[in-house]
Symmetry: D3
Subunit: 240 residues, 6 copies
């Protein structure tokens, strides 16, 4: 039995609210249950030095946390003077995941920066960030298309992410914080709309786990990501 009473293969309530920022080229407030992340996409007319003259663009992400997003207040990274290793790890993951489905040749020498700021945390921040960041990115490209800066939205497929875990011996989908802190193993899966694997991060929390357990988690992730992709489609169709 899960603390939330959810079935093993049930996502939390997922919402993807678009057009939540008056300045950003694309924006999405994503909620996975009580986890809420504000994603904005900023289009810049320049690329990092290694791409200058290449005709290609780039997509990066930055991740931040409001101090009281968590039960116990977390020190503000701007005040401590540096981003934690965990923040950097998450933002690199978001960037890699979004680039995996983006046609980097399709929007000129531009950089899209996805800012994912965690307003409230209850497990699954990084997977919500990827899922909502994709929506913000897509909306920003729609915006460029409307302005005739690009002929088409340079995105080849959806990408979304979900966590799974082994909780009290059972594989479960979309861990909330209560489960995450007690799970025997947890894994984050980033998959495309067509089911291709973009990224897997699986970690044994107490002792090693078996391949069958891994396989069960992956199967759950496929189901959950299918549902997330549907939600993305609906959010994107509405447009900004």
């Amino acid at each position: 039995m899960r603390p939330s009473g959810r079935a093993a293969d049930a996502l939390r309530s997922v919402t993807l609210e678009t057009d939540v920022n008056k300045y950003a080229e694309g924006s999405c407030l994503v909620a996975f249950g009580d986890t809420r992340v504000l994603c904005t996409a900023t289009v810049e007319d320049r690329v990092p030095p290694f791409l200058k003259g290449s005709g290609r663009g780039w997509v990066t992400a930055e991740y931040g946390m409001l101090p009281r997003a968590t039960d116990t207040r977390t020190d503000r990274e701007a005040a401590t003077g540096r981003q934690s290793g965990r923040s950097q790890e998450i933002q690199r993951l978001i960037g890699r995941s979004l680039r995996a489905v983006t046609d980097l040749s399709g929007f000129g020498e531009r950089r899209v920066r996805i800012d994912c700021d965690r307003l409230q945390a209850d497990g699954g921040t990084r997977t919500a960030s990827i899922t909502g960041g994709f929506v913000a990115l897509h909306l920003a490209f729609q915006h460029l298309k409307r302005l005739k800066v690009v002929p088409a939205v340079p995105i080849r497929d959806h990408v979304a992410a979900i966590s799974c875990g082994i909780y009290r011996g059972t594989a479960v989908l979309d861990l909330d914080y209560a489960e995450d802190s007690a799970a025997e193993a947890d894994a984050n899966f980033v998959l495309t709309g067509e089911g291709g694997i973009v990224e897997v991060q699986a970690t044994a929390e107490k002792s090693a786990f078996a391949q069958e357990e891994f396989d069960r988690m992956l199967a759950l992730a496929r189901k959950g990501i299918g549902e997330l992709v549907e939600a993305q489609r609906a959010a994107i169709a509405k447009g900004p």
Copy 2:
């Protein structure tokens, strides 16, 4: 004529939404028009070293900005490695303003930290932060009172803040960004519910201004802060 069409003495639409964070002891999402600041209050059972053993508490604030709160994206302070001087100046102002109406002897050796994070900016962020931060602080004290940690809410009076400016030769209330960037002078006033002055910061933007202009701005501020205090009363009465 103001760009927004407002009368010289008209506030923008002001909302103070409470209970917007499931963890914080008090929280308030304040909007002054398109300016939106998320304020949370965190109660800690310890005080800064200079108060240890004094039996007294303390109230401080921290100020942050989401990168795309502004028309042009601002670099994340956690990434640049330090808070800007402006952020520090604002958070010290918020803290001073809230302490001015708090009975620091009335809640034991505790520290309340007010986090004000700017989600979207359109002028007046610091005044919105003080106004909304007061609500978050009051709700946190109500929370302590319900838990019987304190016998009464240790707040002596309301405190709220508003900006005024000289725009095209006329004193106007509650500058938005379009006015702020073109004003001849601007001033931030922090007043109590009873009309006492807590803080004045007045700056000539182009050349010096006259005492009469200052007096007219202060009169407008009195009117606006009267309305803000009414809004605070309503928000606090609803409770968290």
Copy 3:
């Protein structure tokens, strides 16, 4: 009765010693009683990026403190690795105040940097810095005029600053440290030679204060700044 025995409207002894640095284009050692600040002006042949190609110049300030300028030694900011928020707040105030009386179109694309280093502190450091910084700036422009780099000193009016406070219920001029740490309110006024307001920063230290108290402080400031402007005139007339 003031601790120093001064009348409520009496400045401390003020001196403005010029030509105290063999390298700087302008320099002034300013003393307000025991408060001593060394001000130097450095002329650079370049401007910040936002002014490139504009034909206009800029004036900025930096503020520093010797560790034992205070009764209890203060950690060196270079050793702690960052300027305090207070230092940044002060240096931004100095810069704004000096720019308010400078004709930024009158000296080409140059930057004048005013360094104000507090050698000894006894209250009123920021007001002494503005008052002495003005002299250093004026001398630097005189230097450029003698070199025929500029046709005239591009300064439109004097600017000087003084603090006032409500001390034991009475408005007093030019607080020293003993008064400053016990005052009910304190305010810094930056005025031009003609009496225009450049900046006001007024803060209630214990509880809010009334508008009449503010007005009395401003009247005292006018008197004090009149005397400071006379001292500036004398210092500038002597030249470097």
Copy 4:
């Protein structure tokens, strides 16, 4: 055909040289082909705050790089003033992997710090670090056992790591730099001696990959890690 001429399932030449540092409680210079990492274990008689009074110990890792470990010199992290996100990500992975096979209740309130410094890089640094770090950790515990500080080496199983990739459409074992920079996908596997999964990090480099490809990589990793565990056994048996 692999650039090195190796078979798809062939490791590079692996050596685990022990006792390479006269001060460390355990040390191992690990080579995976031209990749060389110096691993040292330091035993400290204190634990992080969250374990004080728990009777349990902790194992952490730090990762560093000599500037010319790479073909193009990399700036020294001490000179740039911070560890890169990548370094932090790697050292957290090493720590988690080693803790997964350590009995943290078996050596009192002590911390063992594993320093992994990359002397030369040719792909697979993090997997070499985990594999060699395990040897350094084991030797340190043997040292504590000889001193009768612990009754037995508090390690439950081996742990080792290897990378795999999809290179020109084929799954291959133990990527060197030439393969790593051209692979379609790459994955790092951390497994125990008994074959349990401790950590999986799989990343699509260009486009998503299929589950069958993932499974083939995992099978290769099992084979390679079997060989690494044998090499660890030999190194540990010799002792320091």
Copy 5:
């Protein structure tokens, strides 16, 4: 012929003005020609961790520079966020030199901190700092003696410092900046009143120099330091 017209064995004009800071336990404004350093001594009732419980004290130094102490303005170290390697090297030298003549058992578990701030630079800053820092230290100990905190001034001998150089083939004493920047070799000597060597730092600027040149520089240093010690005696005798 030296640029200043001085004889090869002539010091610049040296002054040691005491009691220049109203707060410091000891203070001295030292001038070697146009080089001016403000030295203050601060007595603290605590020692660094490695001396706790030892009954012994410690003497350290910190070195700072006003930005316009030099012909071309130097960036403020507080603004760049760190002390330069050169500043740290100088302050460690000052501390070592002063400790070499101090009886660290003679003033309890206290730390004396010597702040040396360069107001104006014209060569020889570090030697002026040591020479003036000694005076500030002695005055602070005299102060402790008057307060009966120590029975006697815990200083065993004088210590002073001077630079020498090979300038156009000739050994000269007390280099000013014009000589320092053109010298073939330069050396800093720190000697005691009795002529013992505390520290030697000799550097070839263009090519190596011969032992005889070194010996000639040392002989000049002996003469110069003899004169500096006389000046110290006079300054100390006057007392604060």
Copy 6:
């Protein structure tokens, strides 16, 4: 009697192993007894700004330490966020020493960076770094010569370094850590192959020392450096 049993004028066993890094243009693993430093030379096709357009090159050094190079682990400088003053002092010394024998006009506008990383420490790290860094530098220039980038190795003479000390009243050569921590005085000498003085750093550890003691240390250094230069010749002759 020395702790190691060595004669007063005996070096420890010295080895200079070349070609220890597959990427660096020159490399040398130097050992002075148990002190081991890995030196690599990196040639870059650009110079610092002050040399642009001069046609001349530059040689710099950076110094690093593995955390467990010492008996007690030292915190990693990348983790503490800055290089210590001591590290900066050492790397500046290495750079100055190598430049003193290099013909900076002989290799175009290039910079050679010498990285000296201390793998294990037992006294004399900086002298080993200079001695081994010279070999790495020479090999890098040989490499440029073979590529016909330079017509000849632009080095005018050897440079090597050794420490001496006064240990229990006797001058001894090449201090190991046991001696270094107990010596009454210690000195580092950097000399050329022809015996010219490049740098002297002599420090009294407890009380001042006499000129005769200094002279005896210098004589020992001459002998030791003669032997080091022979070892350099052999290492360089073998080539990379």
